[in-house]
Amino acid sequence: MKCQRCLQELSEYLDRNLDEGLRHEIEAHLEKCHHCEIVFDTTRRTIEFYCEGEIFELPSPVRARLHAALRRKCGTNS
């Protein structure tokens, strides 16, 4: 397998959408190719940073204004 072909499957590999044969081919390539291995590993870590971390906090004044607006516009009929 060539690097370009391996990289094309990067996203599908990380999402575990590939059949076993292609997955093994990619893993065999990654064992030999340090550059592709780095790209795969750091892409996986990129995704983990975003899906694991609460990168944005809801500031309390924003939350307070949201609830005040909702009560004002939606809460009166309850």
């Binding site: 750091t42 971390g53 307070a64 809460g75």
Partner: protein, 214 residues
């Protein structure tokens, strides 16, 4: 002396544990039947995620707050029409995405924000950075610094890429749910996600790569 305004707002916005524990479909049913308390419990559950989504789409705190408020106001109004053939959260995300995209279009009134065009003009995605990363860069950075780096990186993506990335990898929607939310095909979502992931990796590599010995 406390801060009475904040305390009052806290009391106004907190829901009883009993409500918070209730099953989501029960909350949706109660909210549809007119219970504001049930609706507020749903707001409490998802407000953080919707704000984050608004920030990711618009890249701007002021617009994100508008998206947050408008999304929940619209959700409240449209709730009687929610047929429960999808998760409440997915339905809410769709409303928030539409609000976010409208904000972007208004800000870029000279240009539309296309969601369904070809991705060929979105720039080169061939990896250029092959240096390995430091083992745990997050441990060497403060939480605030790390957040700033992640926010800056996602803001550097074109809107069509950051919306897809936000829905799939940050909010955890499936490829199919993302496609339905954005009126894209599944292959189009996959192509954008691939580009978004690679471009973010390149951005983060600038900060996280190991220093090479000179």
């Amino acid at each position: 002396m406390g801060r009475p305004r904040e305390i009052i707002l806290k009391l106004m916005t907190e829901t009883s544990p009993k409500v918070a524990e209730r099953d989501e479909s029960a909350l949706v049913a109660e909210a549809k039947a007119g219970s504001y308390e049930a609706f507020e419990a749903l707001v409490n559950r998802y407000e953080q995620k919707i704000y984050r989504l608004g920030l990711n789409i618009t890249g701007n705190a002021e617009d994100a707050e508008d998206v947050l408020q408008e999304a929940f106001l619209k959700a409240f109004k449209k709730l009687p029409d929610f047929r429960e053939d999808s998760r409440f959260y997915t339905w809410l995300v769709r409303i928030a995405v539409n609000e976010g995209l409208m904000k972007l279009r208004k800000r870029r009134s000279d240009k539309s924000v296309p969601m369904d065009d070809a991705v060929n003009d979105e720039g080169e995605v061939t990896p250029r950075e092959f240096a390995d990363w430091k083992p745990n860069p997050e441990q060497q950075l403060g939480q605030t610094e790390l957040r700033a780096i992640l926010q800056q990186a996602i803001a550097s993506l074109p809107p069509i890429l950051r919306v897809v990335f936000s829905l799939r990898d940050v909010e955890g929607l499936s490829t199919e749910e993302t496609a339905a939310t954005l009126d894209l095909t599944v292959p189009a979502v996959k192509a954008r996600l691939f580009r978004a992931r690679l471009r973010l990796r390149e951005e983060l590599s600038k900060t996280f790569k190991r220093e090479t010995m000179s």
